[in-house]
Amino acid sequence: MSDTASSRLLSGRSLAMAGGLVVVGLLPLAAGASPYMLGLLISSLILAGLGLSWALLGNLGGMVSFGHAAFFGVGSYASALLAAKLGVPVLLAIPLAGGVATLSSLAMLPALRLSGPYFALAILAYAQIFRILATEASWLTGGAAGLQRFPGLPTVFGFNFAERHGSYVLVLGMVVLCALIYVVIRRSYVGIALRAIAESEDATRVVGVNSTLLKTWMLMLSAFIAGMFGALNAHIIGFLEPDYAFSGIWSVMPIIGAVFGGYRSVIGPVFGAVVIYMFDQVIAKSLIPVGHQILLGIVLAGMVLLAPNGLAGLVGRIFSRTGGKHHARA
């Protein structure tokens, strides 16, 4: 995770990382995981994708969002409606839904001027507004009663995405793809400029970097990714209602996962979301059937206090003696 500017946007190292991710990701299939386990893993990968989108905005854009549910919900409704009402093929509807989520992010442009907590909670307000609009626009969304009959994931060339193994491979592929996009941007001129902005916005403005424009791009990209994962989730679950599509869970879990895994790295949010979700569902739930989220809270608080760079930071500290510069800054 060297910070040196590289002209090769996709270095061998990041491709190796992606390859490693795929291999690790395919292990459960090779090990013959039960549909139950695969179901949990799919849910955790959806959160991992959201976590990537959140961390991209937080890390590159310097903006912490408390309302990623806004994009997630818009994406899920857009895809379900495109597929059900206009008959768009599901695999096409998913990226289109990402596009619709991107459009919705344009409504948030005024918020880009806000700092820290103000931005975070402004986005939360958008998520609430979108939820209420989805409830009220019942002619389109079915309102509070929700949408139930829209197409699920299709079968392509004999490969059934609707079935657990297929869904898993699809979601895994999307996560890896988004991680690669993240890496490319991080290494590009844009990424360097963005990190410079995070260091000192005023200084970069003097050098002629248009920080608002770059932040806008990051917000749009983050919305696009979050919207696509919302769409994927909608087709996998097969039911939508405003309270679910715009639920606070979609804002909160990616943050917990990303902080746990280390939101300054690319792999951290993915890894963190999967570990945290599986921990919550498999271990915490069996220890405290009711109120097991208390353990999530304790883990999150402990990570912020003891290892603010997350698991990725911890691992980095253990394995790299030369990583001093990285830690000093983060």
Partner: protein, 290 residues
């Protein structure tokens, strides 16, 4: 129609005064430390459950729970501050995440301790109707309104006149300069959190007397408190009160003039409008843009 609007304004002011109590603690801690305590709503909720505990166990009026609530909530608030104070890097972001985590812990601790049943006062005295001409309220709401005004007056006086109050303001306007003047910022910040905890105690008990509480409502209270802090602008006690009343009145008028389904929407839109159009809040002095 006039009667409808009058009642809406009246209800809005009453509920706004309790929103103000909920928001004051958050605004105070934010003013002193630039830290948004995302567990503030859970502190308020904790106090409400203390009121439930006392009322259901002893049969006393809920306000008898104030001493217990003060002790418990202030202790939790101080503990929370000590944790926040352990953060070294990226204080703004990490404190958001830390206090958010503490909010999750508190919500679930309350769930484990009190189960998920909804709770509210059963006191006939507090639930009785009182009328002023054509407008009506519950007695509990009038008491909460009066309590809110008194506490706000006291806080205002304290910040203005006492040494601690002036030190709080000094630390919040310039931490470095305050240190040079011999003020220990950590001590001052501790006091701010203590006072915020005390305010949350009163807010929670008042909330219990006029509204229904459940473990899940803590987060919504925090969001409301933050909205009010934004409307008010940082560093203005009267601003918090006016901002809270503005929110309460906007909500009530939305119900009266449009639909109650849009009440939340109106509050959020008001929040965003003020955020975007009046960067210093309606009554505040300082900028919030980065």
């Amino acid at each position: 129609m006039t009667e409808l609007i009058l009642q809406a304004l009246f209800s809005g002011v009453l509920i706004g005064s309790v929103y103000a109590l909920v928001a004051l603690g958050l605004a105070l801690a934010f003013g002193a430390m630039r830290i948004i305590n995302l567990a503030h709503g859970e502190l308020v909720l904790l106090a409400a459950y203390m009121a439930y505990l006392v009322e259901s166990r002893t049969g006393l009026e809920p306000y008898a729970a104030i001493p217990l609530a003060l002790a418990v909530v202030s202790a939790v608030s101080i503990a929370l501050f000590m944790l926040v104070n352990m953060i070294r890097d990226h204080r703004e972001l990490n404190s958001l995440i830390l206090t958010f985590a503490i909010g999750i812990i508190l919500t679930n601790a309350i769930l484990l301790a009190f189960a998920s049943d909804m709770r509210t006062t059963t006191s006939a005295f507090l639930q009785d109707a009182v009328s002023f001409g054509d407008v009506y309220a519950m007695r509990g709401e009038i008491i909460a309104f009066a309590l809110s005004l008194v506490l706000m007056g006291l806080l205002w006086w304290w910040l203005k006149a006492s040494w601690y109050g002036r030190a709080v303001r000094a630390v919040s306007s310039n931490r470095g300069a305050a240190m040079l003047m011999g003020i220990n910022p950590t001590r001052i910040e501790t006091v701010s959190f203590l006072v915020a905890g005390a305010l949350a105690s009163f807010a929670g008990v008042a909330l219990y007397t006029m509204s229904v509480v459940q473990p899940a409502v803590g987060h919504a209270l925090t969001v409301k408190a933050f909205i009010i802090t934004v409307l008010a602008g940082v560093g203005s006690i009267p601003g918090v009160f006016l901002g809270a009343v503005l929110l309460g009145v906007t909500e009530a008028l939305t119900v009266t003039l449009a639909s109650s389904a849009l009440q939340e929407l109106a509050g959020m839109v008001l929040f965003l409008m003020v955020l975007f159009l009046m960067p210093n809040g309606l009554f505040g002095a300082r900028a919030r843009r980065g």
